[in-house]
Amino acid sequence: MMKLEAIIQPSRFESVKDALREIGIEGMTVTEVRGHGRQKGHTEVYRGREYTVDLLPKIKLEMVLPDAVVNTVVETILKTAKTGKIGDGKIFLSRVEEAIRIRNEERGENAL
């Protein structure tokens, strides 16, 4: 099992979610986050006040996946989250030791 974390543009979230649903991925955790990588923020001035947007709004998706579908999910996210501009985000993958469903204590991929 792999844990996938993807930081994507908020504007791509709906498309990514729909595309994942089409390949049968329903469960995910979504968080509204702020941050920046190489894409630094900028300063806006409104009526004499400066607003520095140094942490840009992003969406973080988290999901734990059976090994067999990881590549498909990664490809789907890459395809749908990409705008080609700086700030499109990143995908992180890490190995997961165990998953347990609290309701019935099922374990492993069955718990996903």
């Binding site: 908020p10 979230f13 709906e14 509204e32 001035v45 009526r47 607003y51 709004p57 705008t83 501009k85």
Partner: protein
């Protein structure tokens, strides 16, 4: 009390004894209890009232408690002296719901009795658990009951419903008749305050509204707990007065509401198999299919009433919930003294004094009270009361509300001036605190009298995962979220405060908010289309001007656009901003749409507007606003491309030809079309046509306390500064201005100003002199300096309340032809003249100007050229230096 050396209670053999002395094994008692429970449930499901059901459950519990207690005493070879069992809370009131806890107090004669009773109580409780009763018990000696536990007000409140169950009856008598009456009387202020605190906390946990999509029928506002809290309030206050008149009628309605809600709660317990009181969507459907509680308000099953849809049935629920909540709030107001803040006291004292004389209402203890009830049969008076509430942000007292309700429903006082005008309604909707009026107006049915369209969403449950409230509640909350922007309760609103304070035509924004979701109550596929249809009727009835209707129409039609742009588009992309700005059209609309979006998201549920979303919304607003001010001269009108607009203007301008109109409009910034209606453009055209006879044409209109001046003339050096100077010389404070020029060099300047000294307002003859003076100075026939001199000393005398540092910035990138100069500075009379004359003196030509103020802050944007080109960097440096020196 138990004797020493008694045999243990053997759970395996269940050696309880029956009343005749022979043991009744729990293996027999258990099934008997279960059978009886099933019988009660069956009866409820076939039509027995909730009241009888609760009573039967209570009798079952009483019987078993008395039996088990007797058996345990016997098994322990003990006597009941010094120990008694008391039912508390709902159980004490004989209202025991199927899966409710049995609240039992073990009352001891003293510490010794308490010590000796412990094993007995443990066995007693265990046995009851084994029989399927959920026991929630407490133990106190009589002396402990006398003392008020300050951190446990709930216990003392539960004691108010005490009922003897079993054991030492004399001990109960002592507590009930001798001990508690005295201590309760002594603790009355404490209990009242605590009950008020607990109630307010509970109501706040549910957002202080009954209108939840999936309400908790026990705890939520309008739930059974409301009725109980009201009863306790009366009990603690020792209010034994017989209820009469309106109060008696209210009590009867409340009793029906309690029956209805009790039936639902019973139903929920049976369906959920536990003490879960949430009326979920699924159970709303199930309850409505059974017409639960409909008709006589008691039945547990279909009553023969026409089956209702879940939405209709929920309206019935809300009607009952409203009754209970209204009664509780009135009791809270009457029985528990509400501590007032100093601000409220001050407000009450000053406003109350002002309102008292000859008025039908006044402020007392921070609430609006009715002084002359019959006067309210005149709707104009009633609406002035609501306008006052909306203006100063003061609640109506519950008594005032009840009085108005009485007037509205009693035909012996026929209503006068029943037809509400848009002018009267605008006073309410455009005020600082419209929600303070709209809430009671909704409760009293006055809102739907004025806006029958709102009835479509009355208590309407539309099921989705995000909304927490009914549609009408959501709509009213949007308005309340706006008015609280005056002092935002958290950081999410901080950015939006100024937008609210400076929004123009708020009444249109608030009207749009009332109507934006009414389509949800119509049989249409797209609720926005339904809401727009509803607007048609409302606009005609209220006699909105075409321009006003267009604005409300825009807000309703696009009320989801800004939110969709924030969530589905890249708001840091220039293309997104440009497209969005194209949809919105003007800065003023953007401001209203942003406020509507902020409030609309906020009112979905308390967590819907995350700080993240609020920030995104603000970023979109700022980017679009800057787009408007920085692209003014990029987007110029080509009149021949605007056929339909030309036709609309021609329809307003009798005798005008399309060719004339095209000549006039050619080259104006597109903003000109966006901020002026066809009727206004036709007026401007008429002025334009007269320029041949008189080279300076003006039009002056007044709107409430402000004036608008439109001036048309051929462009000339220092024109803008000259007009600003004349206005300053006459003591006028410019709050907003636009300066545009068409391709033929005709300048159309619009100034909105406040007549600080009420010169024009109090002396109508001065208006003509003002216009004449303006034309003469602009034409160079009279000097400006003498006018300005008289004003200098006065303008310098007033120190600013809030210091605004001067900020001067240039932007060469936004426009192809001009340099943008943005100045933010302390506003003061004559400021615009000082800036304008400095620009003129340094040879800068104003191509376009946008002048605005925000409190004491002036925000001016100028598109400047020098000999037809952008300003050189040297000129920009010089200008910055001179302006900095002038403005400070």
């Amino acid at each position: 009390m138990p004797a020493a050396g008694r045999p243990g209670f053997d759970p395996g053999n269940r050696p309880a004894k029956n009343m005749s002395g022979s043991p009744t094994p729990l293996s027999v008692l258990g099934p008997q209890c279960d059978d009886e429970r099933h019988r009660i449930r069956r009866l409820f499901e076939t039509g027995t009232s909730a009241r009888e059901t609760l009573s039967a459950l209570c009798t079952l519990a009483d019987r078993n408690i008395q039996k088990i207690f007797g058996d345990v005493l016997r098994v322990h070879n003990a006597e009941p002296q010094g120990l008694c069992l008391i039912a508390l809370g709902g159980y004490g009131r004989r209202l025991l719901f199927p899966y409710s806890d049995l609240d039992i107090l073990f009352l001891f004669g003293g510490d010794k009795a308490e010590q000796e009773s412990r094993p007995l109580i443990a066995e007693f409780s265990r046995t009851l658990w084994d029989l399927g009763f959920r026991v929630s018990s407490a133990g106190r000696t009589v002396e402990e009951c006398r003392r008020i536990e300050e951190d446990n007000a709930e216990f003392h409140l539960a004691l108010l419903d005490r009922r003897f169950l079993a054991g030492d009856a004399e001990l109960f008598e002592r507590l009930d008749k001798k001990v508690l009456p005295g201590s309760e009387k002594q603790a009355r202020p404490f209990l009242l305050a605590q009950l008020q605190k607990l109630t307010n906390e509970r109501l706040a946990r549910y957002g202080n509204t009954i209108y939840h999509l999936e309400p908790n029928v026990k705890e939520a506002p309008g739930g059974l707990r409301d009725y109980q809290a009201g009863t306790w309030l009366r009990q603690i206050a020792d209010d034994k007065k017989e209820l009469r008149g309106a109060a008696a009628a209210e009590e009867e309605l409340a009793a029906n509401a309690v029956d209805f809600l009790s039936a639902i709660r019973c139903f929920l317990h049976y369906r959920n198999g536990r003490n879960d009181n949430t009326l979920t969507y699924e159970l709303q459907t199930a309850a409505s299919e059974r017409s639960l509680g409909a008709g006589n308000g008691t039945g547990g099953s279909r009553t023969g009433d026409t089956p209702r849809s879940a939405a209709e049935w929920m309206r019935l629920y809300f009607r009952h919930a409203r009754t209970l909540n209204r009664q509780l709030l009135r009791y809270l107001e009457q029985k528990a003294t509400v501590p007032q803040s100093l601000k409220q006291r001050l407000l009450g004292a000053t406003l109350g004094a002002r309102l008292d004389a000859g008025k039908a209402f006044a402020i007392r203890d921070g609430l609006l009270e009715v002084l002359d009830l019959p006067a309210l049969s005149d709707r104009a008076v009633t609406f002035s009361l609501f306008a006052e509430a909306a203006r100063i942000g003061t609640l109506l007292s519950r008594d005032a509300e009840r009085g108005i309700s009485y007037i509205l429903t009693h035909p012996e006082l026929p209503a006068k001036n029943k037809q509400v005008t848009w002018t009267a309604l605008r006073e309410i909707l455009g005020a600082d605190y419209p929600g303070f009026a709209l809430r009671p107006m909704q409760r009293l049915g006055l809102l739907t009298e004025i806006l029958p369209e709102f009835q479509l969403i009355d208590s309407l449950v539309v099921r989705d995962y995000y909304h927490r409230y009914t549609v009408d509640e959501h709509s009213l909350r949007t308005i309340e979220h706006l008015q609280e922007l005056a002092e935002p309760p958290d950081a999410r609103g901080t950015h939006f405060t100024q937008l609210w304070k400076t929004a123009e035509q708020r009444e249109l924004l608030v009207l749009a908010m009332l109507l934006h979701d009414v389509g949800k109550g119509m049989p249409v596929e797209n609720h926005v289309a339904g809401s727009l249809e509803a607007l048609e009727g409302a606009a005609e009835r209220l006699q909105l001007s075409p321009e006003e209707k267009v604005e409300v129409h825009f807000l309703i039609e696009h009320h989801l656009d800004m939110s969709a742009t924030v969530q589905r588009r890249d708001i840091f992309d220039a293309g997104t901003i440009s497209a969005f700005a194209g949809t919105v059209g003007t800065q003023e609309r953007l401001q209203r749409l942003c406020l509507l979006t902020y409030a609309d998201i906020h009112a979905v549920n308390p967590e819907a507007l995350t700080p993240w979303k609020a920030e995104m919304l603000w970023q979109l607003f700022v980017a679009t606003s800057n787009h408007f001010s920085r692209t003014l001269d990029r987007d110029r009108l080509h009149a021949s491309d605007e056929k339909s607009m030309l036709e609309r203007v021609r329809a307003e301008a009798a005798g005008a030809s399309i060719a004339e109109l095209e000549r006039f409009l050619e080259g104006f910034p597109r903003r000109y079309l966006a901020v002026h209606s066809p009727r206004e453009i036709a007026t401007h055209l008429a002025l334009y046509k007269k320029l041949g006879a008189e080279p300076v044409q003006t039009e002056l209109t007044s709107k409430r306390h402000a004036f608008s001046l439109t001036l048309l003339t051929a462009d000339r050096p220092a024109l803008f500064a000259t007009i600003a100077g004349v206005l300053a010389g006459w003591g006028m404070n410019i709050v907003k201005a636009d300066a545009f020029a068409n391709a033929a060099g005709i300048v159309l300047d619009t100034f909105h100003f406040v007549d600080l000294h009420r010169t024009l307002e109090l002396n109508p003859s001065e208006i003509e002199r003002f216009r004449q003076s303006l034309a003469e100075v602009v034409n160079g026939k009279a000097p400006l300096e003498p006018l300005l001199k008289g004003r200098e000393s006065a303008s310098r005398a007033r120190p600013p309340k809030v210091a605004v540092p001067t900020r001067i910035s240039f932007d060469d990138a936004s426009s192809d032809h001009s340099t943008l100069l943005e100045i933010v500075a302390q506003d003061r009379p004559g400021l615009l003249y000082e800036i304008g004359s400095t620009l003129a003196r340094l040879g800068c030509n104003i191509e376009v100007a946008l002048i605005d103020t925000e409190g004491q802050k002036a925000i001016d944007v100028f598109y400047l050229t020098e000999q037809g080109k952008k300003l050189s960097s040297q000129k920009q440096d010089l200008l910055r230096e001179v302006l900095q020196g002038t403005l400070g």
